[in-house]
Structures are given as structure tokens and as C-alpha cells.
């Protein structure tokens, strides 16, 4: 319990800092841009952490980690919500028509928005009752969508940085996610072979 509270506290630290900075004018010359970019960065970071739980748990035989996966997933969504909200509010002035126009005009916005939409049902079905209602199998299948979300998130980031050909960070996230997904693919292949061998 204590560990989970501590983790929640850690996950809230960036949010706390950004909120404090926003109200104390400590986010540089363009606070709107800073908030939009930081919430996006934290969404990606938490997504990587969430997807790292299972490989770490299995690889290091550390079952206790499983307890934290749901919380990290929900915090991923938490920062995604703030990312979308910061963009809609600070960049678009909450004008629905402007947002719709922008989504249509900018492919990277469309990709990011799609990732958010796909992430929403995952966040909404993260409660025990939802798992029971859906059944473990269907629930797992639904939550495989997170891999699609990860791909779209990196594409969104790549496209955003393409204007300045500044890809160093993009490759970093892409590499981390590739390792985490690669690990899953390898395990799946090994399991398939094992089951065929029987």
C-alpha cells in the first residue's frame, strides 16, 4: 500500500511542478508551449514505464511489480488528458471548430488525437469489475490496443519534430518502445514453439 502511494506521489510530481510553474510564471517565455510539450513528454515516459512492467517482472522474476501496472497506465492516460486539454485550451482557446479544423489540417494532430481516442477505452476498463464483465480474454485483447497507441504516439512525436528534423529524442522513445515490444514478440515466438513441441 505504502509503495503504491509513493508511486502515485512520484507520478504526480511533474503535474505538481507544471501547475506551480503555470501559476508562478516559471515556465519560460512561452508557458503554453511548455505545458503542451511537457504533458506530451510525460505521457510518453509513463507509457514506456507501463509497458516496461511486464518485461521487468518476468525477466527479473519480480512478481510484485504487477501491482503497479494499472496505476502507471492510468497516469499515462492522466497526462494524455492534460496534453489534449493543454493543446485545446492554451493553443486553440477551446474553440471546437478551430480544433476540428486543426485536426484535419495537421496529420500529426490527427495521429495524436487517434492515439488518445484509442487509449480512452483502456483507461475506462481498468477496474476489476470491467475485467470480470468483459472476461479476461476479451479484456486482454482490448488492452493489446496499447501497442497501437505506442506506435501512434511515437509517430505523432516524430511528425511534430520533423519540421525541425530534430529526432534525437524521438529515436530514444522509439528505441525504448521497440525493445519492450521486441521482448514481447520474442516471448510470443518462444511460447508458440514450446506449445508446438508438446
Amino acid at each position: 500500500m505504502m509503495a503504491r502511494i509513493a508511486l502515485a506521489g512520484l507520478c504526480l510530481l511533474p503535474f505538481g511542478w507544471l501547475s506551480w510553474g503555470a501559476f508562478h510564471d516559471a515556465l519560460g517565455a512561452n508557458p503554453a508551449e511548455y505545458l503542451i510539450r511537457s504533458t506530451g513528454d510525460w505521457t510518453l515516459r509513463l507509457l514506456c514505464l507501463t509497458l516496461a512492467i511486464t518485461p521487468l517482472r518476468v525477466q527479473f522474476a519480480w512478481p510484485v511489480l504487477a501491482k503497479f501496472r494499472r496505476m502507471l497506465g492510468l497516469f499515462t492516460y492522466f497526462y494524455a488528458v492534460w496534453h489534449l486539454l493543454a493543446y485545446s485550451w492554451f493553443d486553440m482557446g477551446l474553440e471546437v471548430s478551430d480544433i476540428a479544423h486543426d485536426i484535419a489540417k495537421r496529420p500529426f494532430i490527427l495521429v495524436g488525437f487517434t492515439a488518445f481516442v484509442l487509449l480512452t477505452p483502456l483507461a475506462a476498463t481498468s477496474f476489476n469489475r470491467a475485467i470480470r464483465t468483459l472476461g479476461a480474454r476479451r479484456w486482454q485483447l482490448l488492452h493489446k490496443a496499447v501497442y497501437l497507441v505506442a506506435g501512434l504516439a511515437v509517430l505523432h512525436f516524430f511528425w511534430m519534430r520533423a519540421a525541425k528534423s530534430n529526432f534525437a529524442e524521438v529515436w530514444l522513445y522509439a528505441a525504448v518502445l521497440a525493445v519492450l515490444l521486441g521482448w514481447r514478440v520474442r516471448r510470443w515466438v518462444q511460447r508458440t514453439k514450446a506449445s508446438q513441441a508438446i
Partner: protein, 337 residues
């Protein structure tokens, strides 16, 4: 008063080589008194208003960057003294696009201290009677310095209000006597791989090049700038000499100029080469012509518009339509974007 010399560390800015060119503290303070007197009503209303805000600005922000002072007198050029709130120096000198030092807005302020501004020369080439090489000291003496308070609108959708110090580029152009065949000017900026980390990356083709039509370059609002906020330019803002074209998107205002070439044909500017469908040669601020990837109808004023404020409307020609609109009479601004 501290006098920076060329041998001082490069992040201390640049100064005139001639000590006589450096405003003495007494003269500087005297001028402020003079400005206050002006403001009290000794001169015409518009000049008084300029003096008031100028005196105010300088009282509040004397040597905001601790660089060598470079003070400009009042400008009588129409449009040269916007009454809008001046962007804080800290924002104007820390939020910059200067890709030679990196693509992040914070990179130039972090890395531009290596800019080799000493000695500095600007080559004049092409279709002129008097080509040659001007050193910075000659350029500084070429015409009296004026303060010009301009709006600056970045193509990315943000803006600032900056008190530049310099003189109309036309002063230099007249001095070098363009030939009748000269119709365009190409501006080349410094690309020194040794001192500019961005030049070692492949973000775009270096050196960075910009261009203007000769009549645009001759317009009195087009400024050859050496300073801002009463000081020499900080390196990250394009020291020691840059272009400021207030009715065009910021990237047209090339920084750290090393070559000015007079041409018959329209030069290809760097952004036009990198993405011709996105950046035209003219790149006049125009709320009616969107960038292919975003709207240009609104902008965020840095350091002024709060987080929750709606973005302000972008003005045609960045608010300088009365002064420069006639340059583009009859042109299809959607085609010549």
C-alpha cells in the same frame, strides 16, 4: 562604466572599436533627462509619446543584458514606434530561433556565447558601383543610430515587441550605389562549423540565406540592426549586425550578416529551398494565407498574453500595411506568399 573590448570574453557582446563611439555614462543619463523633458511636452505629441515610453523603458531596463550600451535616437520613420507593451528583455533574449546554435528555442542563449564576433566584416558584392568589405566599426559609423520599436511575428505563431537599435538598410544601400540592373539583394549569414553546433548537424543547408526585393530593402522600415533594449545585440539575437524586416515573418530577418549581394534575379532563400511549398520568397505576415500546416490568423504575444488569454489576431503585414502595402499593389498574395 565597463567597456567591453574585442578581446573580452565573447559572451560580453561587442563594442565599437573606437572609444569615441561609446556613449559616456553622463551623455547616456543626460539623454534620458532630455527624453523626460520631451515627454513633458517640449515636442510634438507623437514624439513626446515616444519619448515617454522610451524614457520609461530605459529607466526600468537600463542595460538589461549587461552588454555594452548602444543607444539610438528617436526615429521619425512612420510605423517605427509602436505603442504596444515591450516584451521583457529576458524573454526576447532567451526564446530564439537561431538554428546554427540548435533547434530548441533555449539553445541559442545556451550556446551562442561562442559566436566569433571579433573581428567582423560584411562583404558587399554583385551589382554595385562600390563593392568591398566593410568592417563593423565602419558600419556602426555609417549613419546615426535610431531606436525602432517593432512588432516581430514568427511564422510559428508567436510574437514580441522589440526596441531595436540601428538605421535603415537604405543608408547602406545608397552608400554602395546599386547598378540599374540590381533588383534583389541576397543576405548571407555566418556558418562557422567550429563555433556553431547546429551547423555541424544537417537541419538545413548552410549558410542560411535570405533575400529581399530591392524596393523592400530600400523601405525605411527595413532596419540594419546592431542593438536592442539600448545595448548591443546579444549573440543569440544575431550579433553583431542583423536585418529586421518588421512586416515579414521573423525568419526573413537574417542574423549575423556576413555578405550582402546585389542581384538581377530573385535569390533562393534557405527556407524556400528547404520547403518551397511552405515558405515563399515574400513571406509577408498575412492572417489570410495559412501556413500549409497551421493557421496564421492568430498569434501569442510572448510575455504578455496570459496562459488563459485567447490568442490575438494577427494583423495584415504585421500591422505595417499603411507603410508597406503599396509595395505589393496588384500582387496576388496567395500566390506570392
Amino acid at each position: 562604466m565597463r567597456r567591453n573590448s574585442y578581446s573580452a570574453s565573447s559572451d560580453s557582446g561587442f563594442t565599437h572599436a573606437l572609444s569615441s563611439e561609446i556613449t559616456s555614462p553622463a551623455a547616456y543619463l543626460q539623454r534620458r533627462d532630455w527624453l523626460k523633458q520631451l515627454a513633458a511636452g517640449a515636442a510634438g505629441a507623437s514624439l513626446a509619446a515616444w519619448a515617454a515610453r522610451n524614457a520609461w523603458a530605459q529607466t526600468l531596463a537600463t542595460r538589461p543584458g549587461k552588454l555594452a550600451p548602444l543607444v539610438g535616437g528617436p526615429s521619425r520613420i512612420s510605423g517605427a514606434n509602436t505603442m504596444e507593451k515591450i516584451t521583457p528583455y529576458a524573454d526576447a533574449s532567451s526564446y530564439n530561433n537561431y538554428y546554427e546554435f540548435g533547434t530548441d528555442k533555449a539553445d541559442p542563449a545556451k550556446y551562442a556565447h561562442t559566436l566569433p564576433i571579433q573581428p567582423w566584416t560584411v562583404e558587399i558584392e554583385g551589382l554595385v558601383k562600390k563593392p568591398g568589405r566593410l568592417n563593423l566599426e565602419d558600419l556602426l559609423k555609417l549613419s546615426p543610430m535610431e531606436e525602432r520599436i517593432y512588432r516581430m511575428r514568427c511564422v510559428e505563431g508567436w510574437s514580441m515587441v522589440i526596441p531595436w537599435v540601428g538605421y535603415s538598410l537604405s543608408e547602406l544601400i545608397k552608400r554602395v550605389e546599386p547598378l540599374g540592373s540590381a533588383k534583389y539583394i541576397e543576405f548571407t549569414t555566418l556558418a562557422d562549423a567550429k563555433t556553431m553546433p547546429g551547423v555541424r548537424s544537417h537541419v538545413m543547408d548552410w549558410p542560411y540565406i535570405e533575400g529581399l526585393r530591392l524596393d523592400e530593402a530600400m523601405h525605411p522600415l527595413t532596419l540594419l540592426s546592431f542593438g536592442m533594449y539600448g545595448e548591443v545585440l546579444p549573440n543569440q539575437n544575431g550579433a553583431p549586425v542583423r536585418l529586421v524586416v518588421p512586416w515579414k515573418y521573423g525568419f526573413k530577418s537574417a542574423k549575423s550578416l556576413v555578405k550582402i549581394r546585389f542581384l538581377e534575379k530573385e535569390p533562393i532563400n534557405s527556407w524556400g529551398r528547404a520547403a518551397p511549398q511552405e515558405y515563399g520568397f515574400y513571406s509577408n505576415v498575412n492572417p489570410l494565407v495559412d501556413h500549409p500546416r497551421w493557421s496564421q490568423a492568430t498569434e501569442r504575444r510572448i510575455g504578455e498574453d496570459g496562459l488563459f488569454a485567447k490568442k490575438r489576431k494577427t494583423l495584415m503585414f504585421n500591422g505595417y500595411e499603411a507603410q508597406v502595402g503599396s509595395l505589393y499593389a496588384g500582387m496576388d498574395l496567395k500566390k506570392f506568399f
